[in-house]
Amino acid sequence: MSAQPASQAVPLPDGAVESRPVAQRLREHLPLIYPALMLGIFFVVPFGIMLAVSFFHRVEGAFFEPAFELANYARFLSAFFGKALVFSLWISGLAAVVVTCVAFPFTYFLTRMRRGSQVRYLVFILAVLSLSEVIIGFSWSTLLSRTAGVSNLLYYVGLLAQPTAWTPSFGALLVGLCYLGFSYAVLVLYPALSRLDPELPEASRMLGASPLRTFFSVVVPVLRNSIVSALIMVFVFNLGAFLLPQVLGRPEHWTLSVLITDQAVFQSNIPFAAAMAVFLMLVCLALVALTLVFGQQRRAV
């Protein structure tokens, strides 16, 4: 296409350098101004303030006053909060592994289905994904409760001596987290799995490998990077659960997200909450960066 002076609706290739009048360049950037302003004011600024607040001094009866102290961070590294951090990472990671191991074959089968069935499943998964943590927490605490839960069912059937409450407990929280992250994992894995060449597993079967062997020898290795990315993303997603640990777990099971909420709203210690939030954010950003690294690796091959 020869140079069209003022209007170019066709995207420019990366790195293309062209001399165009300043006024026109400015006009082209018009669409970017509004989003930049909005995100700048309402996202960057809040985070900036939060970062600053994490160094502030907590004042009884009011919110906080400007200062610069590392006391908040130091307190964070104490035994109690350190333990909460470790527990948060441990249970989030465990749930992420379980979820990915189940969601991967599930999504694989889903993408091999006929279109009609696939759409029905997808609508269902999206509906489950949109459920708020409140509803999930409420539902699972009901499901695992003594008066209205699964144990009642097993009691009626005769498999259990009497109905018991299975919540709050580590197991209940783990199940809740798995439930929370599952539909998210499915949606994260869906694009890559649906783009997998269907003839690859077929070729493997023609060469004598059973469907099970094909799954582990061909499907998993080829999509290895997607699996790892999904695992990390679910991990970060799980770290964000703030309600399930309160509803399905005892205080020793409370994760960082819960403590941040607690400190911010009930203990009125916003600087401390901010410090923990900053730390949590750094951990998550590091994990997300890892995901991107894995994504790049795939393209290099």
Binding site: D197, E199, L200, E202, A203, S204, R205, M206, L207, G208, A209, S210, P211, R213, T214, S217, V218, P221, V222, R224, V301
Partner: protein
Amino acid sequence: MALRIEHVSKSFGSFQALIDVDLEFPQGKFICLLGPSGCGKTTLLRCIAGLEAPTAGRILLDGQDLTHAPAHKRGFGMVFQSLALFPHLTVGENVAYGLKVRGADQAQRRKRAEELLDLVRLKGVIDRPISQLSGGQRQRVAIGRALALDPKLFLLDEPLSALDAKLREAMQIELRLLQQRLGISTIVVTHDQREAMTMSDIVVIMDHGRVQQVASPLDSYRSPSNAFVADFIGISNLVPGTLRGRDTVLVDSRPIRVARLPDGIADGAPVTLSVRPEEVHVRPGRENGENYLAGQVSFVRDLGASVEITVRCGDQEVLAVTNPRDRPAVQIGDPVAVELPAAACVVLPS
């Protein structure tokens, strides 16, 4: 291995992909499943491979019923349209994949991989990742991989469609020579009739899920069994007419004598005459004898190596192809007589 496909039908929901396909293939032949897109040829191949299950009918190999045997137990080698080479394995690992599944050790696998890469004439790439190969090289790896386990049947789904024209022609010949050398029964799916003519011993022409004709390439050309085959294989003039007596077809009330007549067509029934363009002769002026149609030249195409003359005869357009030496002295608009020689006419039911 004699392959028997016994009254096989396959439906996907309400769509019928295969309708009562009944075929028998002798051992060691090169067979082409030929037809336009959507005719069912790939579905048939996949049923043979075990990747689809027929809705009705059976598939037997040497008398053994394979219909419900899973794909990984059939022992057939297959080359896919997308080639489906495993991206996470090297060339050698791809070729030896089947052997690894069977439990062969590292040394055996390497040796066999080398043998096969030699067979398909690929040197020095055994440890390369797939991404570094050209299209033609990948093609050979796919063939080598499919042959690694000495399969009883060699199946290929439009194997050459991704190659450019020149490479495709070379590969057609190579595949044919390879097959003859190994003596392996081979079934190839293709939509390219030139490809089918080049490579195969037997051509199975399909349309809309049904088998239209099974014959050698030349027989399908010279004696097409219906109008579809006549039109699909090469180019043919299809002239509607009416049968009169046992040896004449009336076209626009002009008598055309024919040498052969298929059974089962009643006197007075409508028929279609199929005549290949290279058999049609165009003469200037008018002729009133048998086997002549009257018409007017509507187009002349001088292609250098051949000359194509299109003549309008009533409602019909008839194409004649000659070489430059025998070219009649006519131009657009001239009245001409078109000869349809008796020996060249094939009568087809309408």
